[in-house]
């Protein structure tokens, strides 16, 4: 039995059942029952019309379930068997399912799990593997989520922002377990983009493609992170970049900008530079300004500070960072950006200290290892520099270069 075929078909069957007005949790159970029967009876030879087969069986399971319930309640209910859905209806069904699975009543983590199961067609085992939790825990999480959305009156929401947020978070989970959640998120966003003609949907798809394109270059053979400016750009995926840029251009042309299109535009500028030196930081900074007008996100503002550092020099960057310090608290990226800017300003000791502090607060081992190595590299370079100076004229040691002092030197 071809598992890929089943993975594509299962959400379609579920979508049809839900569109016909069936309760989500009951419909999902019926689809799972139908899949089990398919595994048992198809063997290596699936029926000629696998979708119709699954729909019929799932419909029958649903009726069975209702009848046993009806027997209790002395109520009879039957399903109308409609013709199989055409492509347009399939797209609508995907949309409907996504809205249901990403319902605002669910936490993002529950929405992601339910979406992977009901729309992505992943098994509970696979989703549990992806999040490194026991299968029984994931089963509980999904079943709670199903109960939550089952109780919700279904209304077609007017904007897709909630769905996009869930897909964005799913993409960002990356590849920590055995399942590639970034690839899943791209697949689902593609489906959404086919069904929903919104520039921000296209923007998110472009953003994902433009970041995913760099994945092979992001880590070395030991799994260590390689920062953007050190990546081997010949390893970037040209096809994904071209596709992402095309989708983005079409979206931007419609002149209804949103945060995903703007982030994608920034990613596209990085992807378009053949070397780190060719990066068009002035344009990137302009896009960040527009992004901040729209979102006022402190994390985006921190990335903007990096761009300021590239365009106007490290001291300007540092002064932009310090304006954010109160809002970002002890976020590890704040220190990582300070470190980067201090290094560019030649303050190796201060940069090393900031890298060290960023490493201590990083929440994933890949970033921690990277930051720790940067601190070690700078300490080493700083000592080597002192050694060279020791033989020459008495080195003028700069006063302890706190960033504020450093920033005022130039003003």
């Amino acid at each position: 039995m071809n598992e890929d075929v089943v993975r594509v078909l299962a959400p379609q069957v579920l979508g049809v059942l839900v569109r016909r007005g069936n309760d989500f949790a009951a419909a999902e159970d019926a689809v799972q029952d139908a899949l089990l029967e398919a595994y048992r009876s198809w063997g290596d030879a699936p029926p000629g019309e696998p979708l119709g087969w699954l729909l019929t069986v799932a419909g029958r399971k649903l009726i069975d379930a209702r009848r046993s319930e009806a027997a209790r309640r002395r109520r009879e209910d039957t399903l109308n068997h409609e013709p199989e859905p055409g492509p347009a209806e399939q797209a609508d069904d995907t949309l409907l399912l996504l809205f249901l699975c990403c319902h605002p009543a669910l936490s993002p983590a529950s929405a992601i799990a339910l979406t992977l199961r009901a729309v992505g067609g992943l098994t509970t085992r696979e989703i549990a593997d992806a999040f490194l939790v026991p299968e029984s825990t994931m089963a509980q999480r999904i079943s709670r989520a199903k109960r939550t959305v089952s109780g919700q009156p279904f209304v077609q929401p007017s904007d897709v922002a909630v769905v996009l947020r869930v897909l964005y978070l799913m993409f960002n989970e990356g590849y920590s377990g055995r399942v590639d959640l970034s690839a899943e998120a791209i697949r689902l966003t593609r489906q959404l983009a086919r069904a929903c003609d919104e520039p921000e949907v296209a923007g998110l798809l472009a953003l994902m493609l433009l970041h995913h394109a760099r994945r092979a270059a992001r880590t070395d053979e030991h799994g260590s992170l390689i920062p953007l400016d050190k990546q081997d750009r010949t390893r970037w995926n040209e096809a994904e970049i071209a596709e992402g840029v095309g989708i983005l251009q079409a979206a931007l042309a419609r002149d209804r900008r949103g945060e995903y299109q703007l982030q994608a535009a920034i990613a596209a500028l990085h992807d378009g530079a053949r070397t780190a030196e060719e990066t068009d930081w002035t344009q990137i900074l302009a896009w960040y300004d527009e992004l901040l007008d729209l979102t006022d996100s402190p994390v985006a503002a921190l990335s903007r500070a990096v761009a300021v550092g590239e365009v106007d020099g490290p001291f300007a960057g540092l002064s932009a960072v310090e304006k954010l310090a109160a809002r970002l608290g002890d976020h590890h990226r704040l220190d990582a950006v300070r470190a980067r800017l201090h290094e560019r300003a030649g303050h190796l000791d201060v940069a090393a200290e900031h890298y060290h502090r960023a490493a201590a607060r990083a929440r994933n081992t890949a970033e921690r290892d990277y930051l720790t190595k940067q601190a070690a590299r700078l300490r080493h370079e700083s000592r080597a520099g002192e050694g060279r100076r020791a033989g020459a004229a008495p080195a003028v040691r700069q006063a302890p270069h706190g960033h504020r002092q450093a920033a005022t030197v130039l003003t």
């Binding site: 936490s107 993002p108 983590a109 529950s110 999040f131 490194l132 939790v133 026991p134 029984s136 825990t137 994931m138 089963a139 509980q140 999480r141 999904i142 709670r144 993409f171 960002n172 989970e173 990356g174 590849y175 920590s176 970034s182 953003l207 970041h211 995913h212 760099r214 994945r215 992001r218 992170l225 953007l228 982030q263 990083a362 929440r363 994933n364 081992t365 890949a366 970033e367 921690r368």
Partner: protein, 137 residues
């Protein structure tokens, strides 16, 4: 979702709770009630889809280290640091937020002790690092 280790140290923590009485001085029923509460917390976490792992550690242990080239491992069974350094066990949870982790830890700390009164045990909450960085650089 981030994972957190909720480390149980019984007597350890920033300060001793004034009402702390060692378990050796509890009645059998008080100990039973305490253990039942631990299982109850585990059940609750499982139902909510937040459970990852629970383990209790034996208080007995051995220090072991590399003995050098060709030498046997060096071991010692004492003296261990004070009891407060020892972890008695842990829950590992996978939750929505740090706030939720604190909520679970505080609940765990309310486990009944002597006289059925809350233990007020300090629970050390440590974030577990994920392996992979976010996909968006």
């Amino acid at each position: 979702m981030p994972k957190y280790l909720l480390l149980k140290r019984y007597t350890g923590g920033p300060e001793h709770h004034p009402n702390f009485v060692p378990m050796s001085e509890w009645t059998e029923d008080e100990i039973t009630a305490h253990m039942a509460f631990q299982r109850h917390v585990g059940e609750l976490l499982r139902k909510r889809g937040e459970f990852v792992d629970v383990q209790a550690l034996s208080p007995e242990g051995t220090y072991v280290r590399y003995g050098g080239p060709g030498a046997a491992p060096v071991t010692t069974d004492g003296p261990f640091p004070e009891t407060k350094e020892l972890a008695a066990g842990w829950f590992m949870i996978d939750v929505e937020s740090e706030a939720r982790a604190y909520e679970v830890a505080a609940y765990l700390s309310s486990a009944p002790g002597k006289g059925g009164q809350p233990l007020y045990e300090w629970i050390e909450v440590r974030p577990v690092m994920s392996g992979a960085p976010a996909a968006v650089e």
